[in-house]
């Protein structure tokens, strides 16, 4: 599939990314997973919303803010929950792989191709995740615009590299506050047609997670992905919606 990932592996660079950690004392490390990411379909686009709190064990909550939404190429963005260092590296390798494949192809990649790259990157991490008893793992939400079909797609890729397309339900939440966010979205009364409407639903879901989950905290971030590419909402735009939702 991805020629670049194979090349990276043959160069020995991917081994640094997923080192052999057998015997490492993971049981001594308390690594709570805390984050909430929400993805929502609207019209022909997808919206991703994320909190920005980094949690270290059960003692420290770092309000960086920690950006958990990362653009991947020109037409996709990824949100991640899980071990922070691994998540950052995962998103970075996805960014570079998508750029490399797009340059080799001379065109933007399809949403499915990007999601397959994500699946393969997480598959590389699977062994590491198992060696750590599941403590070092990454769960991703991917929004990607698909030029051939003219609409954006929403995928989740879990630590066991299951890749799921959420076209049918129209939304998905991941992370420690996902049950609260998911519950908020379960009770929405309509599937949004416009990005602004999706933003309201996404912010409402994240506020519900912030309310009930210690691992989810403000400020909130959001990006939309559609035929124009990836647009990151400003803090002012998000705060306006928060005030309306309050």
């Amino acid at each position: 599939m991805s020629d670049f990932l194979s090349f990276l592996e043959s160069e020995g660079s991917l081994q640094d990314f997923a080192p052999d950690v057998r015997g490492a004392p993971f049981s001594d490390i308390d690594m709570a997973s805390a984050t909430t990411i929400v993805g929502i379909h609207y019209g022909r686009g997808v919206l991703l919303c994320a909190d920005s709190q980094a949690t270290l064990g059960n003692l420290d909550r770092l309000r960086g803010p920690f950006r958990k939404l990362v653009p991947v190429g020109r037409t996709a963005a990824i949100g991640f929950a899980g071990a922070a260092g691994m998540a950052l590296n995962t998103s970075r390798i996805m960014q570079i792989t998508v750029e490399a494949e797009a340059a080799a192809l001379g065109d933007d990649l399809s949403a499915e191709f990007i999601s397959l790259i994500g699946e393969r990157v997480l598959a590389k991490l699977f062994t590491l995740s198992m060696q750590s008893g599941g403590k070092i793992s990454v769960h991703c939400l991917l929004g990607a615009y698909d030029a051939p079909s003219g609409r954006a797609k929403l995928y989740s890729i879990d630590p066991m590299y299951n890749r799921i397309d959420h076209e049918y339900t129209g939304y998905m939440a991941i992370g420690s506050g996902s049950s609260h966010a998911q519950s908020s979205l379960d009770h929405r009364d309509h599937r949004p047609e416009m990005a602004q409407d999706a933003l309201k639903q996404g912010i409402a879901a994240l506020l519900a997670a912030c309310e009930h989950n210690a691992g989810t905290g403000k400020p909130l971030f959001a990006v939309r992905i559609d035929e124009e590419g990836v647009y990151a909402y400003t803090q002012e735009e998000i705060e306006d919606v928060e005030v309306t939702n309050a």
Partner: protein, 229 residues
């Protein structure tokens, strides 16, 4: 192996490469650094096969003439190399110099070209390649020409690839253009068109002109016909 034998094989291989590159339908790639950006002039006899390709969004570009399978393979290898360099050391780690240096090593594509070219029982790679690193201005822009045997050369301010006799002739004209100074965009296009159509084999072709602006090195667009990539 006796030196005379080696020279004879080498000369035969160059004959095969140049015969292929000088046939009808094989057209050159010409590049010139101007005041505004780098202009590439090219055409392709194969619909949908663009000769100018992006290597990396920092402003690295690739073009090839000759066999398309070799060009595509070389392009993919160099794209991969550029992005591995980015993975290992960030944007500032990506440069033509580092790519060339890595690809000269054992297993690298330049090393592979060299060994294929010198193999007496294998058809040599019938292609030539041009790499460009678009800088902040003409002075910081680098061109690198790679020949079928993996050797490379660089000219200041311009680049051209075709069969060896023709590219020497065009290179001489381009060096005359830049000897006066860095040309304006308009002047560069006029001169490049004049050079292009002075070639008998190109008189019936319609070249495509691409521009990479210094302020936006990751994007290349055609400046005639409205096509963009």
């Amino acid at each position: 192996m006796p030196e005379r034998y080696t020279q004879s094989v080498e000369s035969e291989m160059w004959g095969i490469v140049n015969t292929f590159l000088s046939q009808e339908g094989v057209t050159p790639v010409i590049a010139l650094a101007t005041e505004d950006g780098v202009v590439f002039m090219t055409t392709s006899s194969i619909p949908g096969f663009e000769k100018l390709k992006k290597l990396h969004r920092t402003g690295l570009y690739f073009a090839g003439v000759g066999e398309t399978t070799i060009i595509s393979r070389m392009h993919t290898q160099l794209v991969n190399r550029a992005h591995v360099l980015e993975y290992e050391g960030g944007f500032s780690n990506v440069s033509l110099g580092r790519i060339r240096s890595k690809e000269q090593d054992e297993g690298g594509v330049l090393s592979e070209l060299r060994s294929t070219f010198h193999h007496p029982e294998v058809v040599p790679p019938r292609a030539a390649f041009l790499l460009a690193q678009v800088g902040r201005d003409a002075a910081s822009t680098v061109f690198l020409q790679i020949a079928a045997d993996g050797t490379y050369g660089s000219d200041e301010g311009f680049g051209v690839i075709w069969d060896s006799e023709s590219d020497e002739r065009i290179a001489k004209k381009l060096s005359e253009v830049i000897s006066i100074g860095v040309p304006t965009l308009q002047h560069a296009i006029e001169m490049m068109r004049a050079i292009w159509f002075a070639e008998e084999r190109l008189s019936d072709t319609q070249p495509t002109i691409w521009l990479v602006r210094y302020e936006e090195p990751g994007t290349f667009n055609t400046i005639e016909g409205g096509r963009s990539a």
